[in-house]
């Protein structure tokens, strides 16, 4: 109690202090600003045995957070308060209760920039280090420690950091130490300044320390990883390549395998007005990297390995059979072509026509087991670099978009998907899912403010839960209101009865505020953002969400 009084006193005297200070101090203080954002989601759950939805004991669950960031010239500081009372279904159960889960202070002075407290960071493509947040999925592996960035001279950026990672309201066991250097040759060397070819080269070292607490194995307490990368671009063409290596890192993920890990990623693109082409490939072998070797699920990842597949937005495509990266081993390729038939051309018509083609293929790596009786390295397998293992995923899709008239717009999508449930979802004795998906979307504008959007989706498969159809009607009154009705229908399901999943929602937004209210059934599914996917159970009930930015 006394200390609260003291703090208040200190606060008040500070306010008094700032009020009577000289004009220049006032000016400095006046430049300060506070920004932030807020979100709260709440759901009331009903029992619904037909779709397997259960009512939790609490009946009503909420998640919420508030970010506050204060900035004044080179200085900034911020906090995030988070509250889970209790965490909503499908959210990681480690989130319980409330508290300040993020706080930092940072300053920039000339070429030096320092952050203490919690921070997010990414080196290159994230193959060896990426600390980031996806609030909507409950993903947050922020580092708590010290980060120093220095611009040596033009085009050379150095970053060093040390800290522990966030684990819900606690911190993980391991300590992460990391260093990164980036050189932009065209900025560093005067003679290259006006050259058309641009070259950026970068390198990272990331190491973690965790005590060996295992009675049976001699575990490496320090594990180091390295990455080298280059980005070369010339006009319409660009190339981004990165290679990473990691010393033996026996963990729960890899079955305490002492084999070294490696990952390679390459992406090339060509683009000009009306045409974009992108090709990418990667190979990952034993490259799960966490600051606690015994962590599982989405906890304490140091690095980031995105799936090399299209991130679909249509509901059935995005949440029924999305591919998730396999950090223990994967070989994947992806290609994209985006083309716009120009206005006035034969296929372009009056408004032009857009076509997008995408194909992605993912396989396991080849593995030859090592007999532990003949080899004491505790390496569990060897792998032929260019040979693939079993198929994990395939997606071939095409999308055509067309403005038909001033008021009508149309989009047609077809996707053909092969999905290995056994590996990606960890189910036993189930067949590969082969699905055809078709989506038709149309938007009609009544006038400048009123419009309606319609979606029809069909997913046909003989495996898993059988066929699905989805219809969506969304009416919007610009710029503040929308109402939407959704029905998802599961039919020809070999395991269960035919079920409708209806859902009604409405929303209002003004300036940075947004309120959404929904009622109905939610289908169980996999929700992915970036490289993180989460299984969300079926639910039925009333849902409210409020977001605000200020």
């Amino acid at each position: 109690m006394n200390s609260i009084k003291l703090t208040l006193l200190a606060g008040i005297s500070l306010i008094g202090f700032s009020a009577i200070q000289a004009q220049e101090v006032k000016d400095i203080l006046n430049q300060g600003k506070i920004t932030g954002n807020f979100q709260v989601d709440a759901q009331y759950y009903q029992e619904d045995s037909a779709i397997g939805a259960v009512q939790p004991n609490e009946e009503f669950l909420t998640n919420g957070f508030l970010n506050l960031i204060y900035t004044n010239s080179g200085f900034s500081a911020g906090i995030r308060y988070e509250s889970y009372q209790n965490a909503m279904l499908g959210f990681p159960t480690g989130y319980k209760g409330s508290g300040i889960a993020y706080r930092f202070a940072s300053f920039t002075k000339d070429d030096l920039s320092v952050t203490v407290g919690n921070f997010y960071e990414q080196f290159g493509n994230g193959l060896v280090l990426r600390a980031y947040e996806e609030r909507g999925l409950g993903y947050d592996n922020a580092i708590d420690g010290i980060r120093v960035k220095y611009k040596l001279f033009n085009g050379i950026e150095l970053t060093g950091l040390v800290g522990q990672q966030r684990l819900y309201f606690e911190k993980g066991d391991g300590i992460v130490r990391a260093f990164n250097a980036n050189i932009n040759f065209n900025e560093t060397f005067e003679s290259l300044k006006d050259k058309k070819t641009k070259v950026i080269v970068g390198g990272s070292v990331v190491s973690k320390f965790q005590e060996d607490n295992n009675p049976d194995l001699i575990l490496p307490e320090n594990v180091a990883s390295f990455a080298g990368r280059t980005i070369i671009s010339r006009g319409k063409v660009s190339l981004n390549a990165e290679y990473a290596f990691k010393y033996n890192d026996p963990s729960l993920d890899n079955g305490y395998n002492y084999k070294n890990g490696e990952a390679a990623f390459i992406q090339a693109s060509y683009s000009q007005k009306g045409l974009g082409v992108s090709l990418a490939a990667k190979r990952v072998d034993n490259f799960s990297f966490r600051s606690d070797r015994d962590a599982s699920q989405q906890d304490l990842f140091i690095n980031y390995q995105p799936a090399l597949t299209k991130q679909h937005t249509y509901n059935l495509l995005a949440t029924l059979y999305p591919y998730a990266t396999q950090p223990n081993g994967e070989m994947a390729v992806q290609g994209d072509v985006i083309y716009t038939f120009a206005k006035g051309s034969l296929l372009g018509g009056k408004y032009g026509t857009g076509v997008q083609l995408n194909a992605s293929f993912a396989y396991d790596i080849n593995r030859d087991s090592i007999n532990p009786l003949e080899d004491d390295s505790r390496n569990l397998y060897t792998s032929n670099y260019f040979e693939t293992g079993q198929r994990l995923f395939r997606d071939m899709n095409i999308q055509i978009s067309k403005k038909l008239s001033k008021d009508w717009k149309m989009k047609l999508t077809y996707a053909n998907i092969l999905f290995n449930q056994e590996v990606v979802q960890g189910k036993a004795d189930v067949p590969m899912v082969s699905a055809h998906v078709g989506v038709a979307e149309a938007t009609y504008k009544f006038n400048m403010r009123n419009s309606i959007r319609m979606e029809g989706q069909v997913l046909l498969t003989e495996q898993d839960q059988g066929n699905w159809a989805t219809g969506i009607l969304e009416y919007s009154y610009s710029p503040h209101w929308f109402v939407a009705v959704i029905d998802q229908f599961n039919y020809d399901n070999p395991k269960g009865a035919e079920e409708h999943y209806y859902n009604v929602s409405a929303g209002y937004n003004n300036q940075g505020n947004r309120i959404t209210l929904a009622y109905g059934r939610q289908r169980a599914g996999i929700f992915c953002v970036g490289g993180v996917c989460r299984e969300v159970p079926a639910a039925n009930g009333l849902y409210l969400s409020i977001t605000s930015s200020f």
Partner: protein, 169 residues
């Protein structure tokens, strides 16, 4: 610790009454060629600026930017406005940003915020999120989400700003 934070909040809370209008924070993002770029360098010769957060996987975002793209030339001619599109695509999709932007023939200034640093600094919850800056670089308006027709309201506001009128209600 918590008490210190509380004390700081009291001071900062007091500050908000007198503080300057928000401007774009200075944050390192990437160009479409993956070069570093500091957002403090974004300017438009005293004309309004639209800052729009989007992603290649966000369909309302793409609807909004494609709809504006159809009229962008006229907007620029009439008001001198500049649209800065900030893609929040991460390592999974950031290589697809340039092919998409060029494939759609967008004329915007496009930057990539692959680890959400600018998104966090500007308090963006989800995309699309649009900010409008007046000629002096003050953030004077923002909007989250997109519905067909929102671009007309945006352009009305841009026109007012370009004439030097205030848009506060």
């Amino acid at each position: 610790m918590k008490k210190v934070l509380f004390g700081l909040l009291v001071v900062f809370g007091f500050q908000t009454n007198t503080m300057a209008q928000g401007k774009l924070p200075a944050v390192e993002v990437k160009t479409m060629e993956f070069e570093s770029f500091n957002t403090s360098e974004i300017s438009n010769d005293g004309k309004p600026i639209i800052v729009n957060f989007w992603a290649t996987w966000c369909s309302p975002c793409k609807r909004e930017l494609n709809n504006i793209s159809d009229m962008y030339e006229d907007w620029v001619d009439e008001t001198g406005v500049k649209l800065v599109a900030i893609s929040i695509d991460d390592a999974r999709n950031m290589g697809k940003v340039a092919p998409y932007v060029n494939g759609q023939s967008w004329e915007y200034d496009v930057y990539i915020d692959p680890n959400g640093d600018l998104k966090r600094a500007m308090g963006v919850n989800n995309v699309p999120h649009t900010f409008l800056l007046d000629g002096k670089g003050n953030i004077v308006w923002q909007h989250n989400s997109y519905s067909e027709g929102d671009e007309y309201e945006l352009f009305e506001l841009v026109k007012k700003l370009s004439k030097g009128e205030s848009i506060s209600k």
